[in-house]
Amino acid sequence: MNYFDTANSNFIFIVCGLAILFVLSQAVVFLVLAWKRGIVLGMSKNTMKSTIKSSAIFSIVPSLPIVLSLMAMVPILGIPFPWLRLSIVGSAPYELISADIGAKSMGVAGLGGEGYTAQVFANSMWVMSIGIIWGLVYCIFFMKKYQKKLRNVKKKDSSWAAILVSALYFGMLSVYIGPPVIEGGLPLITLICGALIMIIITSIIKKTKAEWLSNFSLALSMIGAMAFSVIANFII
């Protein structure tokens, strides 16, 4: 039997579907929890609504590359398991690398190659699943302690605590700034374009006091820059 018959079987679809349904329901649980907490804190419903709306709209476009990754994984690992993997912890490059390691440690040359049986597929599955659970493990055991530590830093010196978080955030942002600057070409053009559109939108908001626009500034700048990269690709 071809391993694909197993990988695309109804059974795996159902099992993975149920797991995804669980994760989806947890997201809804957190949404409701946060909403109720916001009400108790006396926050405005409109503010909370526009947070939900703008976050949802922003998330559409960055989710599309995940669908592209799914398309890349399906010919190798079938549909349901990659679907599950991409919906919970992990990322496309991680999944493919760890699946490949799973195959190699069974003595098979690589994913989907000769000798890639259902059992090898199972080993890929196990390695992909357990290889990256550590974030969850740390959250379960250390989140409360870590949060307490952070709160102590804030109590001691609240202005430093705010700077500390900004500095961490800026460190992360910077990781993605250096490479396009050095690569040049389309990545650099897109980077600059995203920056310019954001600056323009921000100044429009300041001048016209169109506060509603700020909810969409990130989505608009990102999509605008992506559109420009398509145009620039034709010109260069």
Binding site: S9, V40, K53, S54, S174, Y176, P179, T190, I199, M222
Partner: protein, 230 residues
Amino acid sequence: MKITDKYANENFNDYIHKMGRIILSCTLIIILLVPTLICLKFDIFPPLKNFFNGFIQVAMVYIPLCIAEFLTFVPMLGSGASYLAFITGNLTNLKIPCASMAVENAGVEPNTDEGDVISMLSVASSSIVTILIIIVGMVALVPLKPILSSEVLKPAFDNILPALFGALGAYWFVKQWKLAIVPVVTSIIFAVIIINILKMEIGSLQGVLIPILGIISVLSARIMYNKGKL
């Protein structure tokens, strides 16, 4: 305890940690249950030795990397949002940009009670959308494939990170340019070394670079802060 009590100040923090721990433990069990059930059903358990071989190779990288991610991302998101974000993943390309702009636009301070609420709402809403889009993508895999993987759109998807981080960078760096100088310059130097000198693929190293640049950025901020330059 009355229902509203659990949403009151100190109680809520304990409550969210309790919920977070329960939900994450369930998620862990489910993650392990899926391959277990599949292997039981088809009788395809791999030999333990081979699994262990592969597992060690992956875990050696991800046990330390996940510590760094945990330490870096939790302060940015707050605990409630972190619990969910670590379940659904895609932190740097989705959850953190989304939550940070949401907190800013709501006009609340990050890491306050209100900031945590906005961050949680944002991560939850973003997670739901991503899960739904993947479902749509899976169902419509055949008709969507030629569109999403078309040559015309390829540059757009290839450059989604520069588009996103160009916009985010412009917004935040303009506001707090002093904090940005050191990490941005360091990132450019790293990129020169990795791309031009070592000739390596930088995309695969970004997970490692995030905590490294995080530390450099925090240290430089601390020095400036101590000298009263911020």
